[in-house]
């Protein structure tokens, strides 16, 4: 029987090293004797749960959110029906909830499909405000001169910023710069729309926003493309 020369214990004949101290076992015979190990080599095959894929996770999130939104919808609808025997004021919360549901659904279902998301995220707003304006007294009042251009502005600006976010190669300070530019331009256009609706075409306050956002955004772009030059920001500011 083989022994470990270091710790002095007797080991199983098929051992190459001592199980305690890992010292090589010196065997007299060159070949290992025919010895059956006391335990089988294999472990039972476990049924491993396959982890949820990203798509499954998104659909689960969608399901949960849909369910959560569905509850207040039913509650408001039934209260309106019970109290007034009609659906009138409930149209406001219902249309808002439906809007929220669509806005959440689109990016979860059409993940990374930029064009569909851009349309899907702005079109519902157009319809929503149209509905709200109509619910009020059955006519269009503020929809065409005010709601339509503001929604258009938001849609176009956020789409441009989003495209910038997706297309740009080295993400870093350039992303906040794009957002700042977006904020500045949105304010300018909104000011233009509102002032035109109230009095005559022109701008009032938006230049105070535009100048600092453009300057700050420009400074960030300068930092990003001239100083950091696309290097990983985390590495630079790692505390």
């Amino acid at each position: 029987m083989p022994y470990c020369t270091r710790c002095g214990v007797e080991v199983e004949p098929n051992k190459v090293n001592c199980p305690l101290c890992n010292t090589p076992i010196q065997s007299i015979d060159e070949e290992l004797p025919d010895y059956k190990s006391k335990y089988p080599e294999e472990q039972e095959i476990k049924e491993e749960k396959t982890p949820r894929t990203a798509k499954q996770t998104r659909m689960l999130v969608w399901e949960i959110i849909s369910f959560i939104l569905f509850i207040p919808l039913i509650i408001t609808l039934s209260i309106n029906l019970i109290v007034d025997h009609a659906v009138n004021w409930a149209l406001y919360p219902i249309s808002s909830l439906l809007l929220a549901w669509i806005i959440i659904t689109i990016p979860l279902v059409f993940y990374k499909k930029v064009v569909i998301i851009a349309i899907g995220e702005s079109l519902p707003f157009l319809v929503y405000f149209l509905v709200i304006d109509l619910i009020d007294n059955g006519h269009l009042n503020w929809y065409v001169p005010l709601a339509l251009p503001i929604i258009g502005t938001f849609g176009i600006v956020s789409t441009v910023v989003a495209i910038g976010f997706i297309k740009v190669k080295n993400r870093g300070l350039n992303i906040p710069a794009f957002i700042l530019f977006g904020v500045g331009i949105t304010c300018l256009l909104m000011d233009l729309i509102i002032t035109s609706y109230q009095t005559a075409p022109g701008v009032k306050w938006s230049l105070y926003v535009l100048v600092p956002t453009v300057l700050a955004g420009g400074f960030l772009l300068y930092l990003h493309y001239r100083v950091i030059k696309g290097k990983d920001l985390k590495r630079k500011i790692n505390p």
């Binding site: 029987m1 710790c7 002095g8 214990v9 007797e10 080991v11 199983e12 051992k15 001592c18 199980p19 305690l20 101290c21 059956k36 190990s37 006391k38 335990y39 089988p40 080599e41 294999e42 472990q43 039972e44 476990k46």
Partner: protein, 446 residues
């Protein structure tokens, strides 16, 4: 007594057998006091599974073993159960299914989904010449598993033609279970007036990284019983006390093997969990859990202990602590905890959240290891002749890292270390020291 009166049962007739559980109101019952905690922490890292095994002279015939299991399970109605979820606690329910023999695996004592419907809280495994039983600790302690394995091996051998004249304490399929075997002996011996035992500080724990989930490394040390008894007798201590002292010494050596800076951080009391079979102190025939621990140890903050000092400490500690008075303090604390209305009326799902924290602070964190001695396994001569060994394996522990279970069969002592880390650091010091003491040690691994 003849044995083959109930030789083979086809599966469909399996439920129509004697001992009417339902009329005795035993078709469902509460978990015992110790079991409640084990079920709350059951996980891959803390599977609460331990094992007894026996190697026979000849290779195992699996279909014959299945037949033996079919026969013998009726004698153990408290093991023919399934754990079910209640609103406040888990409970045992008679399992209508048939336990099946499984193939053995490389790493024993892995997690068993005991709360799944129809799952038996134990496994019966066969490999080459060996029959092994893995018990979930909520079912019973070492004594229960040992009694079950003895009965199973005896029935298996009888089916194979072994003639037995004297059965001694072995359970036979045609005998009727005693109702006392069902009892929760903790509650029976609950002394309401006993104060809680003193709280103890957290213990030193071997600071190695756990090996992958699902692994469990076994090192078996086999020593001639005569020589090791001679050695412990020479020191005027029992075999268990000698082994406890050696284990503590090994843990101290592990601590001292770290560089000084790290040692300072790690230096905490070295303390072992030593289960005591309470059936010896409070008479009970229960086949469910009935054991608690004493916790001998040393405090390395007082300096390095020599082996004689450790042995001295262990010797006196054991004589004081292993007494009905001190043990009943522990029983009182545990039962009181279970019966507290705030605990009782907390929904099970919330109990489960706290279960692990309680288990850690009350149990695992206070100990550096566990050593349990099943003692000499007595088996009638005619059966023992067909058996090579009878071994006992500890449950994996993610915080103690190592555990040790000991049993004596025929002329050999089997010391089984199980560990959840890669490096056999404790085992190395432990067995090397035994060799230095002049004892011949044979090592087997999985």
């Amino acid at each position: 007594m003849s044995s083959s009166s109930v030789s083979s049962i086809p599966e469909k007739d399996f439920n129509s057998k004697k001992f009417n559980i339902k009329s005795l109101n035993l078709d469902w019952y509460r978990l015992d006091n110790a079991a409640t905690l084990f079920t709350l922490v059951n996980s891959v890292r803390i599977p609460c599974m331990y094992r007894v095994s026996s190697t026979l002279k000849n290779p195992i015939n699996v279909s014959k073993l299945q037949e033996a299991l079919d026969n013998i399970i009726w004698r153990f109605p408290y093991y023919k159960v399934n754990m079910r979820r209640g609103l406040f606690w888990y409970y045992w329910e008679t399992n209508p299914k048939r336990p099946l023999v499984e193939r053995d695996v490389k790493y024993p004592n892995q997690k068993l989904d005991v709360t799944k419907k129809g799952v038996f809280p134990f496994r019966v495994r066969a490999y080459q010449n060996r029959i092994a039983i893995e018990f979930h600790h909520s079912l019973s302690d070492g004594t229960g598993a040992m009694t079950f394995l003895k009965a199973l091996v005896a029935e298996y051998l009888v089916l194979g033609g072994t003639k037995v004249t004297d059965w001694s304490d072995i359970f036979r399929p045609n005998s009727t279970p005693d109702l006392e075997e069902f009892e929760d002996a903790f509650k029976k011996n609950y002394l309401k007036t006993a104060p809680n035992p003193q709280k103890i500080a957290n213990a030193f724990q071997v600071p190695f990284k756990l090996d992958e989930k699902g692994t469990y490394h076994i090192i078996t040390g086999i020593i001639p019983i005569k020589e090791i008894i001679q050695r412990s007798k020479g020191l005027n201590v029992t075999l268990t006390e000698y082994l406890i002292a050696k284990y503590l010494e090994a843990l101290q050596s592990v601590l001292l093997s770290f560089p000084e800076k790290q040692q300072k951080k790690l230096t905490k009391p070295i303390r072992l969990q030593v289960p005591v079979n309470l059936r010896r102190i409070f008479p009970s025939k229960t086949m469910r859990n009935f054991s608690l621990f004493v916790t001998p140890g040393i405090n390395p903050r007082l300096g390095v202990f020599s082996f004689d000092e450790i042995l001295n400490q262990v010797y006196h500690y054991m004589r004081v602590e292993v007494s009905d008075k001190y043990i009943s303090q522990q029983i009182a604390r545990n039962v009181r905890g279970e019966l507290h209305p705030l605990v009782r009326y907390t929904p099970l799902s919330i109990k489960k959240l706290f279960g692990k924290a309680v288990y850690n602070t009350m149990g695992e964190k206070l100990y550096s290891g566990v050593i349990t001695n099943l003692g000499r396994i007595n088996i009638p001569e005619e059966i023992a002749e067909e058996m090579e060994d009878f071994q006992f394996f500890p449950a994996p522990s993610p915080s103690n890292k190592t555990g040790c279970a000991v049993g004596t069969f025929k002329d050999k002592l089997y010391i089984n270390f199980g560990r959840t880390i890669k490096e056999p650091v404790v085992e190395k010091f432990f067995f090397e020291n035994l060799v230095k003491d002049g004892l011949p040690v044979k090592i087997e691994t999985n």
